[in-house]
């Protein structure tokens, strides 16, 4: 312990914690700008190295902050400068490094560092190498901004920043129609959710008068509950978009158009968990409204199952992993919704490790397969790429939740929480999902690495990835194995600011059974996957493929199609209608119509000026006559009226 205290003192003396915070935050953007300057020039390997080192620097700084906090240091909160201030609204650029954000920072920078290094190899042949690094570092900056901000609007900056970078990176190969389409879809869907987020922020501002976390949370009890639940709902709508919860989930699968490191970093480890982070960060608000929490949990459970089912049948390796991510995010929301915030965070962390690993492995496979994604065209790859196979196997086991891999600890806790809160339906759903998860994870592993080498039919010559890429993945693999073992330290650390979840008394007695049951279904899933693949490659028979359920799953419950029919197309058609029929034919035509009406009055009465003197004179006389009539009417109005009345009666 002496050593620990020394270290603590060392860090504080050695370097100011706020400096550390700034280094952690800003070194990625420095890297991004450096890479951006060379954005349009040909590949320079140095860029990759510089940027990666800067991210690593950020990681070190985050680690420094982590140690500072871990050893009892005070929470670091800095205000860099004022940002927006108008009326009573005053929002600074303020950053906080507390237990939760530092955990996130650590995860983000760690995974980022690995992905950056990995990308040097992965992107080596791409002409947009420098640009890629610029985007990727910008993403890291935005993500850091998101997790470090000490107010809701700062969070929103990061929130939108990661959205922008996600747009840039999904559409990185902008010459591909599908990539740019997916990028726009992701951005717009996120924006729909952001609308909710903004409304939440508006509500917070008008009811709390501030957007700082600490001030808001301090006042939270003095605000009516219905307002709080509205805030919670709207904030959660924001979270739904970023974390791709149903019904805003379709973008995540399509986002797989981006380069695989991007998928690993953004669409597995970090950005998509921002929604979960928001729920954890605003736990004071969510804790007050258990009904909303219950809704979040239910939706999470539903998404977990829903995504897992889609993952069962998909043949695209990245999409399967993406659905799996979706499913795991569902788990996190269950935990968050049920008030077990630290568990949600814990699963977030472990999931980041093994899912990033899984994606990077998939990246290796793709690289080897010359960007082929269809797992049906792979098989037997373990022979050529043993390292990758091993890493992916570790990740899959972790994902399936097999003891003692990281996934086991976090996922099992969530099931326990569901059971403990007597939400047996949730538990059941999650339990079933656990089995499915195991199944599809191993289905991939089997189809890709085992079985016959189907790729030969397609004339592909796979090769193993660069050594340094594999080495870069190793830390993730190690963490995927061992992260779960640090559960207690983790609890101690984060519950300094997060509420502790207390299991009820009775649960301890049946906890053993629960673990058994869960592990059993996971193992069953694995077994089915392995066995079926051994007997029959491809797993699904043709008859099965014509099954309705298979079709339903294969077409993602037809949801993309429905969205296209119900939202996109009508929107486009309505826009056209508004422009061509309403704007041009009604609004504009009315204006022109008035002008034309005046003009045509002129044309039609032009004949009055016929140039004929007789007509002119007659006009004069008519004028006089009309005046005479009016004179009579004016002077004898009364008598004329009585006369008329007499006639009528």
């Amino acid at each position: 312990m002496n050593f620990d205290i020394n270290l603590n003192i060392n860090i504080s003396n050695f370097i100011d914690t706020s400096t550390l915070l700034y280094i952690a935050l800003f070194s990625p953007i420095v890297g991004s700008l450096i890479a951006g300057i060379y954005g349009a020039s040909p590949k320079r390997i140095g860029i990759g190295i510089i940027v990666s080192s800067l991210i690593f620097l950020s990681f070190l700084a985050s680690a420094g902050l982590f140690l500072h906090l871990y050893f009892g240091g005070s929470i670091v909160n800095v205000r860099m400068m004022d940002w927006i201030s108008a009326g009573d609204l005053s929002v600074p650029f303020g950053f906080v490094a507390d237990q939760v954000s530092v955990t996130m920072m650590l995860v983000v920078t760690l995974v980022s560092t690995i992905v950056h290094i990995y990308s040097i190899g992965y992107m080596e042949k791409d002409k947009g190498f420098n640009r890629f690094f610029s985007y990727l570092s910008a993403f890291v900056f935005s993500m850091m901004f998101l997790v470090m901000s000490d107010n809701f609007l700062g969070l929103f900056i990061g929130w939108e920043g990661v959205g922008l970078c996600s747009w840039l990176l999904i559409g990185f190969w902008y010459e591909r129609e599908s990539a740019t389409w997916a990028a726009n879809e992701a951005f717009i869907m996120n924006r729909i959710a952001d609308l909710g987020m903004l409304i939440g922020i508006f509500l917070i501002y008008w009811h709390f008068g501030t957007l700082q976390y600490d001030e808001v949370f301090a006042k939270v009890n003095s605000i009516p509950v219905d307002i709080i639940s509205m805030i919670a709902i709207f904030l959660f709508i924001g979270a739904m978009g970023k974390s791709a919860q149903f019904p805003l989930h379709t973008w995540l699968a399509d986002a797989m158009e981006g380069p695989t490191p991007v998928s690993a970093l953004i669409h597995a480890a970090t950005m998509v968990t921002a929604g979960v982070y928001l729920v954890i960060r605003a736990n004071e608000i969510f804790a007050l409204v258990p009904e909303v929490g219950y809704f979040i949990a239910s939706l999470g459970a539903f998404v977990a199952l829903f995504a897992a089912t889609m993952a069962l049948v998909n043949r695209d390796i990245k999409r399967v992993i993406a659905y799996s991510t979706l499913s795991q995010l569902g788990y996190m929301f269950v935990a968050g919704g049920l008030g077990a915030y630290w568990i949600a965070l814990f699963h977030l962390v472990t999931h980041a490790f093994f899912k990033a690993l899984l994606f990077l492995g998939a990246g290796n496979v793709m690289h080897a397969m010359e960007d082929e994604l269809n797992i049906m065209k792979m098989g037997g790859l373990r022979k050529v790429m043993l390292g990758t196979a091993l890493l992916m196997l570790i990740a899959s086991v972790a994902l399936s939740g097999i003891y003692p891999f990281a996934g086991f600890f976090s996922k099992d806790k969530i099931l326990e929480v569901a059971f403990d809160t007597h939400n047996y339906i949730l538990w059941g759903t999650l339990w079933l999902t656990a089995g499915l998860t195991a199944f599809y994870s191993f289905r991939i592993v089997m189809l890709v690495f085992f079985g016959s080498a189907r790729y030969k039919d397609f004339g592909i010559h796979p090769h193993e990835a660069h050594g340094f890429m594999l080495w870069a993945m190793t830390p993730l693999a190690v963490l995927a194995i061992v992260a779960g073992l640090f559960e207690h330290q983790f609890i101690d650390f984060v519950t300094k600011i997060l509420p502790v979840y207390n299991f009820s008394e009775g649960i301890h007695e049946i906890i053993g059974q629960l673990v058994m049951v869960t592990t059993a279904i996971a193992v069953t899933g694995i077994t089915i996957a392995v066995l079926s693949n051994m007997f029959k490659e491809g797993l699904f028979t043709n008859t099965f493929k014509s099954n309705f359920i298979y079709k339903l799953l294969d077409n993602q419950y037809y949801i993309p199609k429905i969205y296209d029919e119900v939202f996109s197309k009508p929107y486009r058609e309505l826009s056209e209608l508004f422009w061509k029929s309403v704007d041009l034919k009604i609004v504009d035509a009315t204006v022109d119509g008035i002008a034309n009406c005046i003009l045509s009055t002129g044309e039609n009465t032009r004949g009055m000026q016929s140039g004929n003197l007789s007509i002119m004179l007659r006009l004069m006389v008519i004028g006089i006559t009309v005046l005479l009539i009016s004179a009579i009417l004016y002077s004898y109005a009364d008598s004329i009226l009585t006369l008329l009345q007499g006639v009528l009666n």
């Binding site: 002008a595 005046i598 003009l599 009055t601 002129g602 044309e603 009465t605 032009r606 009055m608 000026q609 140039g611 003197l613 007509i615 002119m616 004179l617 006009l619 004069m620 008519i622 004028g623 006089i624 005046l627 005479l628 009016s630 004179a631 009579i632 004016y634 002077s635 004898y636």
Partner: protein, 496 residues
């Protein structure tokens, strides 16, 4: 037997007659010179005319306000002074048009200048009297001179215009006479102040006869001012007469008529003859609107300007209908402002007039003639554009201030509806003024004209006039206050 009449010379106040006498003697002098030595150059006559008008103006300025002269036949009140100043200044500027570079038929006649001076005198009599007989004779003197001068332009169209103008004028003279007869019958007098005294005494009964007499006056002056439906001569006369004279017709006869109309109607309006106000309201609205609409569809600039000046007349008539001191001083403000803009516009037309060159089988100044003018003659186009924008009432150019003041006077008298109609009409009017601007600035030249075609008729004096009017329209904002103060003072002095 009746007593012999003894009249002291002082009581005649010969000074009040001096201005008109000067103009008439100028005319006679010109006739005399021609008699003694014919075939003199027109310049001598122009200079003589200008000199006499100048002297005329001088003697007007030295008049004593609110004085009557010559057995009360001459009546110099504020509006008489003011309108005479306007008439004389405008006449002076317009006669300078005669210094045209080209030979025009009318300027071969020394009589033209004599007629011009007689006409000026006629208008002066019209405004400087409240005796219906003097007004009538003055009016006819001026009108008959004008008809002749139009004819002297010696084109087929000018004959036609003069005949139309004359014939309608004769009918209008009949209206005037009939209206006066009824007034005379009602009051036994032809002097307006006396007429109103008697009418007041008999409480405007029978009202119907008062109305009928005003009705015939509306007919008579409606013709003179060209309000709908008595306006039909307007466009044709503008088209038929030379631009120099058309410009004159659009300014001077109208201000004279306005003064007479003010004299006749204001008192009636204030004495509760509501009919007049109602009818004037209708006439004003119809005149403004219809003239604007007709102006929209014209193909010839001069004809367009004719309709536009009808519309402007309608605008100013509304001030008479409103009948407050503010509105009545607004008439003069407006008309002075309008005079300079119109002067400029017609000067530009006159400058571009060339005998023989025809751009259009019918029109002298079709819009196409000015197409792309900015490329051929930028300064001219800018000038013309300036005058068009001024007429359209774009601030800060002169007419805007008149419009502003009149609309304000309508509002102040609780005629908000009228104010809005006036405003909307200004908006319609913008379109046809812009049409010329568009032709000049935004279109390409149609024919292979060179820039000099637009200034073929320009002489130094014409350019000076152009310069004066352009200068005035641009910096009019600084003249508004003095003019307004002067107008308000004179109008208030006259009791309107």
């Amino acid at each position: 037997m009746i007593e012999p009449v003894s009249v002291s010379f002082e009581s005649l106040k010969i000074a009040t007659l001096m201005p008109m006498l000067l103009a008439i003697s100028g005319g006679l002098l010109i006739l005399l010179i021609d008699l003694l030595k014919s075939h003199l150059d027109k310049s001598i006559y122009i200079v003589l005319s200008v000199m006499f008008i100048l002297m005329d103006l001088g003697s007007v300025l030295s008049l004593e306000l609110n004085s009557r002269g010559f057995f009360d036949v001459i009546f110099i009140d504020g509006i008489a002074m003011l309108s005479q100043i306007v008439i004389l200044v405008a006449s002076m500027l317009f006669i300078a048009f005669a210094f045209a570079s080209n030979r025009f038929h009318e300027y071969q006649y020394p009589e033209f200048f004599a007629l011009f001076l007689f006409m000026t005198a006629g208008f002066q009599f019209m405004v400087a009297s409240d005796n219906l007989i003097t007004i009538f004779v003055g009016l006819e003197t001026a009108s008959l001179s004008l008809y002749t001068m139009i004819v002297l332009h010696n084109k087929d169209k000018s004959f036609e215009a003069a005949i139309k103008y004359f014939t309608m004028g004769a009918v209008a003279a009949g209206f005037y006479a009939f209206g006066s007869m009824i007034l005379y019958g009602l009051t036994g007098s032809v002097e307006l102040y006396k007429i109103f005294e008697v009418l007041e005494a008999r409480n405007f009964e029978p009202m119907i006869l008062v109305i009928v007499s005003s009705l015939f006056f509306i007919g008579a002056f409606g013709f003179k001012l060209a309000v709908v439906p008595f306006h039909t001569w307007g466009p044709d006369v503008y088209e038929g007469s030379s631009a120099a004279l058309a410009g004159y017709i659009s300014i001077v006869p109208k201000i004279a008529s306005f003064v007479v109309v003010m004299r006749i109607f204001e008192q009636l309006i204030h004495s509760g003859v509501d009919w007049i106000q109602g009818v004037l309201y209708a006439v004003v609205v119809i005149t403004m609107t219809m003239a604007n609409i007709w102006a929209l569809i014209q193909n010839d600039v001069k004809r367009m300007l004719a309709y536009s000046s009808i519309s402007h007349t309608g605008f100013v008539m509304s001030a008479i209908m409103i009948g407050t001191t503010q509105s009545n001083s607004g008439i003069f403000l407006y008309w002075i402002m309008f005079a300079f803009a119109n002067l400029g516009a017609f000067a530009m037309l006159w400058a571009s007039r060339k005998r023989g060159i025809r751009y259009h089988e019918r029109y002298d100044h079709p819009f196409e003639k000015f197409a792309g003018m900015v490329k051929l003659m930028p300064l001219g186009a800018v000038m013309m554009g300036l005058f068009m924008l001024t007429l359209a009432g774009i601030p800060p150019f002169s007419v805007f201030w008149g419009k502003l003041y009149l609309i304000s006077s309508a509002i102040n008298a609780n005629y908000t509806g009228l104010a809005i109609i006036m405003a909307l009409n200004s908006a319609i009017a913008v379109f046809y003024y812009l049409k010329l601007v568009i032709f000049m600035f935004l279109k390409d030249p149609v024919s292979s004209l060179d820039g000099s075609a637009y200034m073929t008729n320009a002489s130094i004096s014409l350019k000076v006039v152009l310069g004066i009017s352009a200068f005035f329209t641009v910096v009019s904002i600084f003249f508004v206050n003095p003019i307004l103060e002067m107008a308000s003072y004179f109008v208030a002095m006259s009791g309107f």
